[in-house]
Symmetry: C2
């Protein structure tokens, strides 16, 4: 699969057992010299050796760098540690950074690659479902500030992305479910058949070990690629990818990023965005039932936090997608037909929040 | 004057008294909302009020941010302070960062603009000769690591550049001379008549207050613009701008950036690059005499540091322009005709260093 961005176009390889071919793919992409292999301790324990061996066999000089697990990786001081390490290893402009891990690794290592020597080559090897279908695709990189998430970063496209679906088999069910929230999002904003098919296979996807079909990943990646290639720097068309995220980010913020995985917050955020859609975008309530039911099955134990709407509302105005003080929501006119709409009335949002909470508790 | 980079093309305004029109130019460029005015305490004392008033009169909501003076500004922790300040001020994607100052302000504020919310609009208002003819043009931004200068950064083009040559009248002579090193560089790599004309007007340029002709600035900016528009990301053609810089950076590194202004190090570096050129690139020794004599007149009190060649050589291999371990020099085949050449023999460089030292001391 190819993401078309003119001179910055690149391939996305999706399939089983691809990690063994990482070095080979680097060579094919013209990458040689030093490779900074960036991962976290748990990911490195599972897949570091395989990646290292593959890169070494392809003639690359591999240097391993470990970031802390989770959001702790996403700080400017971690980026500084990383790029200082690149400098100590004598990395040059022609060398490559390999991000092996979930979204936090891809975001942080990607930003380091975007800025070290004003930009070196980057390869994304996402190891979570969320990263494979979403964060590793499209070039967004960045870290957090105290004031908010992803406030510093760069758009930096990788040379290629390698999605080895075998790596997903080691994921805890909770992480798989978190990734499925984004899968369901693609169904809602682009291809309703994803929702039906996922509903039919949900049990095996959420079993141990999880069985995620490479075709499902491919379909999601295709949707994201098509959107990103039409809009690299987030104008209106890329913005539809944020369906459920405005409210989801607010939920993450008010719970200090400690309670929800990203996909969990997005799932609850999509429930709210669907309610707003019925109020403002004209979609019939029952058209959303299959997606609601699928979300509930995917996240049976999830619940909204006890928090005042006012705090969520404040967190939303902090969101960097706010343009000129206005809150623009991605809504659904129909399943598969998103629309960007300014929602000026806080009452509509508060009402949708209450309705979503009630519905979620009763499903 | 316009720097042609497709969708990222922008205007460079050069002339006297332009700072009064900063706000107006912002408005013309479609910039509105919040403006982060970034400068250093001394620059802010001189020009902050004028810039602030002009922006405010044009309807912008101005927030002032001060970075430390000099290289101390160029760190990731200063960038973090700056972007945190942007977040605290509620700056959004549609807002603008105005870099008012010399190269260090432009580099640091520029990098903050490149990365805050993955990139917001930037306006460069260079206040030194060096920044007006060189660092503010072309989109290079970045900060230093302990391991070296400009090791982290981004290519981020401004929305426009405003070079008010009146601002140069407050510069100390030493800073004017430092900027002239880059002017002389443009003569050597592109337009030999710059050298003759500068030689004729040097006395008034280096008087108090310094009288720098806007036309001289324009000619230099034109040369840099032409080169950058052909090569935004430093392939071979942009690399000619580094004439004298390989050795110059090494001189700055081994003296811990405490002894030389950038232009001073570049002047001494160009003396070495000229010697290497006579050995390797076939230029006749006497063709370089006008430039050498002009450099000596511009920097009458400057001298090479007492330092072993080995340390300079090591610093050069650290330089980020090193590609695959090879040291590529910009040399002159003739005055105005640069060529990029790999110089593999350290003896040639050492010989050139000794010859340049001797010549400089005896001129």
């Amino acid at each position: 699969m190819r993401l078309d961005l003119g001179a910055r176009s690149y391939d996305i390889h999706i399939g089983k057992g691809l990690l063994d071919h990482l070095g080979h793919q680097c060579k094919d992409a013209g990458l040689a010299g030093k490779a900074a292999l960036v991962s976290s301790p748990p990911v490195n324990d599972l897949y570091g050796k395989t990646a290292h061996r593959s890169l070494q066999e392809a003639g690359l000089d591999v240097h391993t760098f470990l970031l802390p697990d989770g959001e702790a990786a996403k700080s400017l001081s971690q980026v500084e540690t990383l790029v200082s390490g690149f400098a100590d290893a004598g990395m040059e402009r022609t060398d490559v950074v390999i991000a092996l891990g979930g979204g936090t690794i891809g975001d942080t290592a990607g930003f380091a690659a975007a800025t070290y020597l004003r930009g070196v080559s980057l390869v994304q090897v996402p190891t979570t479902l969320l990263a494979q279908v979403d964060s590793a695709i499209g070039g967004k990189t960045g870290v957090n500030l105290e004031q908010g998430k992803n406030l510093v970063g760069a758009i930096w496209q990788p040379r290629f992305v390698l999605c080895d679906t075998d790596l997903l088999s080691s994921l805890p069910i909770r992480d798989v479910a978190s990734g499925l929230a984004e899968v369901i999002k693609y169904g809602l904003i682009s291809d309703p058949s994803i929702i039906d098919e996922l509903a039919a296979s949900l049990q095996s996807v959420l079993s141990t070990p999880p069985a995620v079909d490479a075709r499902l990943v491919s379909r999601c990646v295709q949707i994201k690629s098509d959107i990103v290639s039409g809009d690299e720097r987030e104008g209106d068309s890329r913005r539809v990818l944020n369906f459920g995220h405005t409210f989801g980010h607010a939920l993450e913020t008010v719970t200090d990023y400690g309670r929800f995985l990203h996909g969990e917050a997005v799932a609850l955020g999509m429930m709210v965005a669907m309610e707003v859609s019925t109020k403002v975008a004209g979609i019939a309530d029952e058209d959303l039932d299959p997606a609601r039911s699928l979300l509930k099955q995917t996240f049976p134990k999830l619940s909204y936090p006890y928090v005042e709407f006012q705090r969520l509302s404040e967190a939303m105005t902090r969101d960097k997608k706010v343009a000129e003080g206005k809150s623009v929501w991605v809504l659904l006119q129909a399943v598969g037909q998103p629309v960007c709409t300014e929602v000026s009335s806080p009452d509509v949002v508060e009402g949708a929040f209450e309705a979503a909470k009630e519905r979620w508790a009763s499903e």
